[in-house]
């Protein structure tokens, strides 16, 4: 009996929290985690609409999103490890060689 706008609002808040995490934190790993948060917010939105319209498509999409998110985390973390090998730091602000 929950109005769908509640779910939309929650999803929006989680999404913006994820964005703030990406923008405000300097630890690359926390940035990744915020990214996962954003994924989850959009997943929530999909599932909510799927329940609202009583069709399955939303949940299928969430399935694929999860798969791709997993793959992305794997590669992203491997990348972080590789960068850490040279920079010995996970501070994203130290990767600024393209400074103009």
């Amino acid at each position: 009996m929950v109005p769908i706008s509640y779910y939309l609002g929650l999803s929006a808040i989680l999404f913006v929290t994820g964005i703030l995490g990406v923008l405000l934190r300097r630890n690359a790993l926390v940035i990744f985690m915020s990214l996962e948060l954003m994924f989850n917010a959009s997943n929530l939105l999909f599932v909510a609409f799927s329940a609202y319209y009583k069709i399955l498509t939303g949940q299928i999409f969430v399935f694929f999103v999860m798969a791709v998110a997993a793959a992305e985390v794997a590669v992203g973390l491997a990348l972080m490890v590789a960068i850490f090998r040279t920079k010995h730091s996970v501070d994203v602000d130290q990767v600024n060689v393209l400074k103009g």
């Binding site: 990406v22 923008l23 300097r26 994203v92 602000d93 990767v95 600024n96 400074k99 103009g100």
Partner: protein, 663 residues
Amino acid sequence: MILSEIARIDPTFGLVPWVVLLPIIGLLLNVLIGKRLGELGIGLIASLASGASFVISILLMLALGHTHGPVTVSFLDWITAPGFTLGWNFRVDTLSVTMMLVVSGVGTLIHIYATSYMHSDVRYNGEPSRYRRFFVFLNLFIADMMLLVSANNYLMLFVGWEGVGLCSYLLIGFWFEKGKDGIGNALAAKKAFIVNRIGDFGVLIAIFILFTTFHTLDFDGIFSKVQLNAPAFQGVILAVTLFMLLGVTGKSAQLPLYVWLPDAMAGPTPVSALIHAATMVTAGVYLVARSNALYVAAPAAQAAVMWVGALTALFAATIAVAQFDIKKVLAYSTISQLGFMVAAVGMGAVTAAMFHLITHAFFKALLFLAAGSVILAMERGYETSEHGHTGNAEEFDPQDMRNMGNLQRRLPWTFWTYLMGALALSGIAPLAGFFSKDEILTVASLTSPWIFVLLILAAFLTAFYMGRQIFLVFFGQARSEAAGNASESSAVVLVPMVILAILSVIGGVLNLPGTTFLEKWITQTVAGKPDQFVLPLAVTSFALALIGLFMAWLVYGIRKPLAHPGEPDPLAPILGKVYNGMQNKWWVDEVYQVLFVRPYQSLSELLAQPVDLGAIDAIGNEIGSSIRSLGNGLRRWENGFVRSYALTLLIGLVVILAYLMVK
């Protein structure tokens, strides 16, 4: 008339474009291949170009003898606009052919003279490579002057007018790095150009008014309309003639714009002879003669012209009395004689003015050429004396008459030709100058007594200062080593002088009181006042001239004047303060400096510094620096931090969403 019609009348008239084109071809040849030809080749090409113009002018004169009436030859269309077409049309009538003959005839003689004069001059000044440039400019001058006199409309005349002004500038500043303080000649050239510009402004305004009133600039078109209906255009004609008078005072060196001519003596002597004595300065007289139909319709303007001419004649003559530079005396004499001519056209006596123009061309060119010969002789004498060395001879002024003396024995040919010229100028019968000046005086006596008094006084002073010059230069004792060592010039220099001397002597036959050839010739084109010969007046003017010469002999001839160069002029104690004024040119240059030049210069400086640099440049600089600071500010965004790039992405997203929201 197009060339096919001309062929029916007389094919000779079709030759008229060549009087302009041949000198141009000459100068182009000199520019392109002159260096390889050497001095002889350059001089030959230039003189031949000028000579060919002269030959064509003679042919045109003979053709006009058979076929009367003005003949216009159209050459090409210049301006074709709806409502106004202007072509480069040549006009062959007696007035223009007379000017063509004078310009090309005297011009050719001076070209020949200059081949030898410049040979010495470029070596005296240490720059032999500049020889070619002189003849290029000289030919350009002949071309422009021919353009001026052969034009069939006011605009082509103005093209020639400006062209000769340009050549005058180029030739006065020929030795642009020399002169007082190293820029004297350049300053003189600049002065000539700028003062002439003021006159050109007058001519331009006149042309503008003519165009807006008559919608054509052709002589025939304007004059016929004016003659048909003169009262309708009263105000317009008065304005046009007065503005043209401004141009005349500039180009023909009358009051108040004469100040450039004495300074123009900084140019080499052939330039002074050709441009500033015989031809360019007569362009103003020609303009008034040509526009006689307009001036006849505006008696007030005629009176203005007359007075300007007469006052200038006397004013310049007084200055000439006290000058020490041999060329400056002749310069002021030129201004004075131009005053005679201008007064004559002002009184409507076109024939008298043209007669005096022709004879003046003869003897003034002769006087300048002979003065050049004297200067060359002094330079040669200086080089062979103890202090002589080539190149930089600035401590010794070869043109200062106080350094001369007793040159009659050392330079016989120069002396005799100079004497002929001086006597002709003074108005001694039966030389050419007597007849021409007498006609002007006669007309003046019949027109206005005041003008007559001014002119007759000027004539008296003319005789006086020419006598003074003869005695200072050729008689007495040599006042410097250079004068003592002077040697006669080469034949190439002397032959043109002799020819001009002969012309000065016999030139009177052009318009003798009984057989008035010139009057009959000129009046075919322009109807002026008929020439009259009043015997008592002629005798009076002749007597005055003799008295003038006699007085010069009294002051300068009897006692050995100026035994050393440092002694003051014997005339100074007699005249006292007046002499001071005469010597200082009545301080006109200084007055102009205070009244016009300095305020203008401070205005220029004001506009240059605070206005131009301060305001206008500042605007440009501010725009540049503001963009630079904008770039600097924007550069800080490219900091390489991923987080700030992400923030920018978000901001862009927000903006797009906002736009979609508002839409």
